[in-house]
Symmetry: C2
Subunit: 344 residues, 2 copies
Amino acid sequence: MRATTIHGPQDIRVEQVPDAAVQDPGDAVVQVELACICGSDLWAYRGVSKRAPGQRIGHEFVGRVVDVGPDVASLRPGDRVIAPFVWSDGTCAYCVQGLPTSCRSGGFWGSGTSDGGQGEAVRVPFADGTLVRVPEEADDALLPALLALSDVMGTGHHAAVSAGAAPGATVAVVGDGAVGLCGVLAARRLGAERIISLGRHEDRGKVARLFGATDQVTERGEEAVEKVRELTGGLGAPAVLECVGTEQSWATAIGLVRDGGRIGYVGVPHQAPNLPTGKLFGRNIGIAGGLAPVRTYLPELLADVLAGRLDPSPVFDRTVPLDEVADGYRAMDDRSALKVVVTP
Amino acid sequence: MRATTIHGPQDIRVEQVPDAAVQDPGDAVVQVELACICGSDLWAYRGVSKRAPGQRIGHEFVGRVVDVGPDVASLRPGDRVIAPFVWSDGTCAYCVQGLPTSCRSGGFWGSGTSDGGQGEAVRVPFADGTLVRVPEEADDALLPALLALSDVMGTGHHAAVSAGAAPGATVAVVGDGAVGLCGVLAARRLGAERIISLGRHEDRGKVARLFGATDQVTERGEEAVEKVRELTGGLGAPAVLECVGTEQSWATAIGLVRDGGRIGYVGVPHQAPNLPTGKLFGRNIGIAGGLAPVRTYLPELLADVLAGRLDPSPVFDRTVPLDEVADGYRAMDDRSALKVVVTP
């Protein structure tokens, strides 16, 4: 089969690799219908996150089960499924409490020798614990929206839940990437009344408004903080979604959060900023979030997509066939595309 | 009147100062019945926190109102009152939401030219917003317990609430100072089932057990983390109270918190440690807490003290008259005393 591999910075290839196949009794093999490229894939693309030459890449996909091992109980060939961005056994203490990202048997697509999502098919460990079945009657037109549930929508939702977005809340969202935009959508879904989106890109601003942003702040840094404070009676936003993960974005989030408020953080800390407790303490600022337990959120988000109440698909603004996946990376890297769908 | 002043590291004096008097219409003057020395006063005593020579010190006291300004509506001379460790106007947006520590008109006893708690009397700004009246029928024997509500008990409670201590919870408390011990007591009061207290001092361990600690860990650092993990099936404690505020105590708290858990932080970050987001992200660790809004918690904690359901007074293990307050500082600095009461 063909799959995307990464051989070094800016060196994305599509290569012939061994066919995905059942290896363990709990495995399933999923034929990918749609995959996509994540902002976090760009860290590998830029050489910031190291990868072994030839390693697979991609961690978001929807597809159809084509084979299952003898222990798989809940799925059968032909089922359409969504894969969250980590696999998990579904039975350990962490999985049971709803934190599959801490599953001791879990792992990331493309890590080590595992299959990545940007390929023709994927071997899925712990298929019963990992995959979420899509009802057969779901319209094919929903596929992009379902694909977004594999990571960005669940991650934006995690930020919103963690920040305390709730009916009537005032929320600020730092970052207008696909995750930040999904954070806006999630905050609206949770009933937030005022949603302040921070970001400079006009095209992304349009998606933010479509998703429910009531205010947009195009300033950066200290000016953005001042602007949000102006918009909130000088107090700041009680719920802030940190959807970037850099030192600057954290400084902005801390600057504009209201005293006693909470920052829901989901921006992958590739540059691993350190939080100044001295700036949090006197103001009673809390933080919550982290790597989104997407598997836990999938059933409720899926139900809303199927019912027509939730559509994160506008975060995708380009589609490339698998053979042109490298163009997709380039487009996201130079920001000419927001998020790119890959069709095997 | 006489009051405690600080002139430099290890230089605590009792001096004649101008009598406390009403200056603003909302002021009250409180004759101090009992005051005490706080672990955070030691930072000034050790020269880590700078003070102007001759500045007042002390921020915990109970006493009787002896004079009120014309705007004071809820108090009159003769009323016994508890003062939280900051004053606050009681009317601003932060006070109304229950965060008086962020009150724009608020301040700390002993800051600038204000009176400190370790003296014969204190001018209290915004007396209606700041002070909490103790019912006349309260027994004098309760005074030490009431004094503890001015800071340590409310601070321990803030750590416990912020960490998510609740009925049935497993809680770990980092720090066996007076705040950590009150954190144990607060966790028990909130219904925690298992309370693991970390600390090396045998005498403090006795108070921890009295306050409800079910397990005690005398190891430090990595060994303490391993021990707590042993006690919790390898998973760690879902609720951790950080009651120290140093880089080491934070590292311990992060090490022993269960993935998806929350650290309630109240240790004053004098050395202002920076939190490594890279170590929090993948494990979904949250933090909440900060400077305790003691004024907000006072009514419920006071009710429990008066009803005999709550007694934090065992954190006090020595009493000195005001003239010997310097001995009290020395005793707390060399750890021969846990927390010292001062009687004017």
